[in-house]
């Protein structure tokens, strides 16, 4: 049983997608997405490749632009207003499938850059925060190395720490473990579980169903640009309703 489905959630809505549509040129990639995320809620998004999962979470920090409907994050509506976009991005952290660390900077510099240049935090304080989070992801000894000298799992943990250094209110994860060798997946998921337990609001695109069962408050299944099914993890895995969900689950849990 997932004990988290009984969790008391705050009533405060921090992310709101209302009848959101997106097109890439002529291609209708996201169709009528409606989603509300409460403060502290953990959401796992899954679905077949190309179904629009990445596109959807990238709309939340405006790495992609939506053409219709509304996206409201932390009470700020995302429009073409650059000020709003920057304000939202300051509060929303994101981890990518391919880590996207800055290869020309040391790990420590990767972590302190945004706090210093965006939040204007003094260097010493930013470094102290950085070391704190490096300890949290269990690699303080790598602080002065360059990203190219770290393993994939270590790089992804650095990437998570880098986002956390900005003290975000919301974290977005786009398949953070799918570029990793199997033996490194656990170390990254561990960090994410800890983060979830501390009450971070999270949206994770992932196919790690163990992780979904353990921490998700809600699992969302997407296919062909639509949200097909949405449920608590227990019911989602035990009693999927839609045929496409069943097919998908049988494919990824089947072997």
């Amino acid at each position: 049983m997932s004990e988290n489905s009984q969790r008391e959630l705050s009533e405060e809505v921090v992310i709101q997608l209302k009848q959101m549509h997106k097109w890439y040129g002529e291609f209708h990639v996201l169709k009528d997405i409606n989603l509300e995320v409460k403060k502290g809620e953990r959401i796992v998004v899954c679905g077949p490749s190309g179904s629009g999962k990445s596109t959807m979470i990238r709309c939340i920090n405006r790495l992609e632009e939506h053409q219709q409907g509304q996206i409201i994050v932390n009470g700020i509506e995302l429009t073409s207003d650059v000020k709003n976009i920057e304000e939202v991005r300051r509060e929303v952290g994101m981890c990518f499938q391919h880590f996207n660390l800055f290869p020309h900077l040391t790990i420590l510099e990767n972590l302190t850059l945004a706090p210093m240049w965006v939040r204007k935090i003094p260097k010493a304080e930013a470094e102290a925060t950085a070391m704190h989070y490096l300890e949290r992801v269990k690699i303080p000894d790598q602080a002065n190395k360059y990203p190219g000298q770290l393993s994939g799992g270590q790089q992804q943990r650095v990437a998570i720490a880098r986002s956390l250094c900005m003290k975000p209110k919301i974290m977005l994860f786009d398949e953070p473990t799918s570029a990793l060798d199997p033996e490194m997946i656990a170390e990254v998921l561990d960090v994410m579980v800890t983060l979830a337990e501390e009450g971070m609001t999270m949206i994770c695109v992932t196919h790690e169903m163990g992780f979904a069962r353990k921490v998700a408050d809600r699992v969302i299944f997407m296919d062909a640009g639509q949200v097909i099914e949405e449920n608590n993890p227990h019911d989602f895995f035990e009693k999927p309703e839609n045929e496409r969900t069943k097919l998908f689950l049988s494919q990824i849990l089947g072997h």
Partner: protein
């Protein structure tokens, strides 16, 4: 299967086999690895034996070094007396002899400020300060030193500037100005704003589409046709602007190549952290992009350095122009080879230094493979 020499899992680290390292191995691998390479090696040795002694004889053993006129040269080898006599003009053009110290002073300031930049032990703060001094204050100091007109220094018109000094003025100004301009043009060309983008494209393609000679010619001959004499800037300034705009167009394309090679993920990570356009460019994208195109940037610098010789056609006498001028002096007819060799050596020293420096810079900035 052969017998195991060591217990499984305990194989020691052995040194490499003797014949894979050392001089003999190098000779064998690089010069005599097969019959074709052996043939080429022998051919090369033959050519070297045939040419080098003659060259050395001309340049050193039969050459004349001291004297004051052409009569001091035996003419069996090179006549370096020619260079000796014309040395000051080759270095400073027609800059008044008693004012040459002003140029020398600027060289000394530049070298003194630049040396600490190459010493690893010097702190970053001092290096930044010195670099800023060289880029901002030093050019102003140079202007007052060279041109004069204040601080009790007499005015030296730019028409008197020449030789290696003029080459350096044009090349360094071009290099220092064209890099930032080129970066801005490259960013503009990739901009989302249609107007900025079109302006940059037109600018780049225009300057890349015409030869530098034409640019210089227009700057010195056509410009005065449209702009009244009093308003038109000095000929040297016009040439400097022409050279700068010309090479900034090339620079823009080199930099754009680097920008295009940066993975999209870097832009996205920077944006996701809340960095705005200029911060993400300055802190994330440009450092990586420029590092990647150092060879191309230095290539453009070297091209620019050598292209400065073209100012000869608008009546400015750089190092090469001065050498040519000296060789056409009635008293020194027939010494153009020595002049050209000297000018070539001068250019080679600077261009080769730039090339080596760029290689060491690349090595130093290499932080391992990109993700």
């Amino acid at each position: 299967m052969t017998e195991q020499k060591y217990p499984i899992g305990q194989y020691p680290n052995l040194p490499p086999p003797k014949n894979s390292v050392g001089v003999v191995a190098w000779l064998r691998d690089s010069l005599f690895s097969n019959w074709f390479n052996t043939l080429l090696t022998i051919l090369a040795i033959y050519i070297v034996i045939k040419t080098i002694p003659g060259l050395l004889d001309w340049a050193f053993f039969s050459a004349d070094w001291v004297g004051t006129s052409r009569d001091d040269c035996s003419r069996e080898g090179a006549c370096w007396v020619f260079i000796n006599v014309w040395f000051d003009q080759l270095m400073y053009g027609r800059f008044p002899e008693d004012q040459v110290w002003r140029i020398q002073a600027s060289y000394i300031i530049a070298i003194a400020a630049a040396i600490p930049l190459f010493i690893p032990a010097v702190s970053r703060k001092i290096k930044t300060a010195l670099a800023l001094f060289l880029l901002v204050l030093f050019p102003i100091i140079c202007f007052y030193l060279y041109y004069g007109g204040s601080f009790g220094l007499e005015v030296v018109e730019t028409t008197l500037w020449g030789g290696l000094f003029l080459t350096l003025v044009i090349a360094v100004t071009g290099i220092v100005m064209s890099l930032p301009l080129g970066i801005l043009l490259a960013l503009g060309r990739r901009s989302n704003m249609p107007v900025v983008k079109s302006v940059c494209i037109v600018f780049i393609e225009f300057w890349r589409g015409i030869p530098l000679i034409t640019v210089l010619f227009m700057a010195s001959v056509m410009f005065p046709l449209f702009v009244p004499e009093e308003l038109s800037p000095d000929k040297l300034i016009r040439a400097l602007i022409g050279v700068t705009l010309f090479s900034s167009a090339y620079m823009a394309e080199v930099v754009r190549g680097g920008l295009q090679a940066i993975p999209k993920g870097q832009y996205e990570a920077a944006a996701a952290l809340g960095l705005n356009y200029w911060k993400s460019m300055l802190l994330i994208i440009l450092p990586q992009a420029l590092k990647m195109v150092i060879p191309g940037i230095v290539n453009t610098f070297i091209g620019l350095f050598k292209d400065t010789t073209l100012v000869l056609i608008i009546g400015l006498f750089d190092l090469l122009g001065m050498a040519q001028l000296a060789a056409t002096n009635p008293n020194w007819l027939g010494f153009s080879i020595e002049g050209y060799v000297f000018a070539a050596l001068g250019f080679f020293v600077f261009c080769f230094t730039m090339s080596r420096y760029s290689q060491s810079l690349e090595r130093r900035l290499n932080t391992g493979h990109r993700n």
